[in-house]
Symmetry: C2
């Protein structure tokens, strides 16, 4: 039987591993590395993965999710994520990460320009990971725009 101290250390190691998987996810996006990104999503079809990009409907299954990232990468010349408020909650083989994505991105170059215009975005994400023999893998990503603090929206009090 393990001691409380061992349990505590094992839990801390798990949280570090989840944080690393979460960071690796955003680094793969920054590099536009679809192979690395694919490897970070849960394999197989038994445990169907799902993904919501900011403002998008739900995408389900590896095929649909990975195709969406290929499309986004093709239309993104430059993207950088500054993560803040990273919080990890976990139990057994499931971990739930919430974080704020402070995004700076640019589209493909327009005629005569070296880079498309840079755009800042504030997005919050809930990322659910599963522990597998190959490490922590993404089961679900849900990103959404933060509108309440910018004053850009008329309706600042969403109803659900």
């Amino acid at each position: 039987m393990s001691s409380p101290r061992d349990d505590h250390e094992a839990a801390a190691a798990d949280i570090r591993a989840v944080e690393e998987a979460n960071t690796a996810f955003y680094e793969a996006l920054e590099r536009g590395d679809l192979d690395a990104l694919s490897a970070l999503w849960l394999p197989g079809e038994d445990l169907t993965v799902s993904c919501v990009h900011p403002g998008w409907p739900v995408l389900s299954g590896r095929g649909e999710v990975l195709r969406s990232y290929a499309l986004i990468m093709a239309n993104t010349e430059y993207i950088q994520f500054f993560l803040t408020d990273v919080q990890v909650a976990m139990t057994g083989d499931t971990a739930l990460v919430t974080c704020t994505e402070n995004i700076l991105s640019g589209g493909p170059a327009q005629e005569g320009d070296a880079l498309g215009p840079l755009v800042g975005q504030l997005v919050v994400a809930t990322n659910v990971f599963r522990n597998t023999p190959e490490g922590w893998k993404l089961w679900s990503h849900h990103g959404s725009p933060v509108l309440t603090e910018t004053g850009e929206e008329e309706d600042e009090e969403p109803t659900s």
Copy 2:
């Protein structure tokens, strides 16, 4: 040892129970029943709950989450959810539900009116449930506005 048939039936029963918990969550919101809603969120502080309302930043912990619902209920005279595309993925004690919330809601009555103006909203949600001795309880809710199909937004291709 259980037979494959038993396993299959147990899994089907679990999925039904998760769907019922998911439905109960929206029914509690429709009734403005904060007690019922509180009972549907995971108790205790070990496994920190989190919640993102459409356009909001992340809320963490039962206190912050339940206060937000009290505020929303106080400002909502009428709300109805028509759920579509409900999908359940599960493993062991964790279930992940994605659904589309077709929302019709109205604010408090304005001077001389019986009811505030009704507003339609299209929101997608990822709801994560944990199995407990008291049934399936919400660990995380993340709702976000669907903007891509309405043509209301200039930037129809979010970058993450």
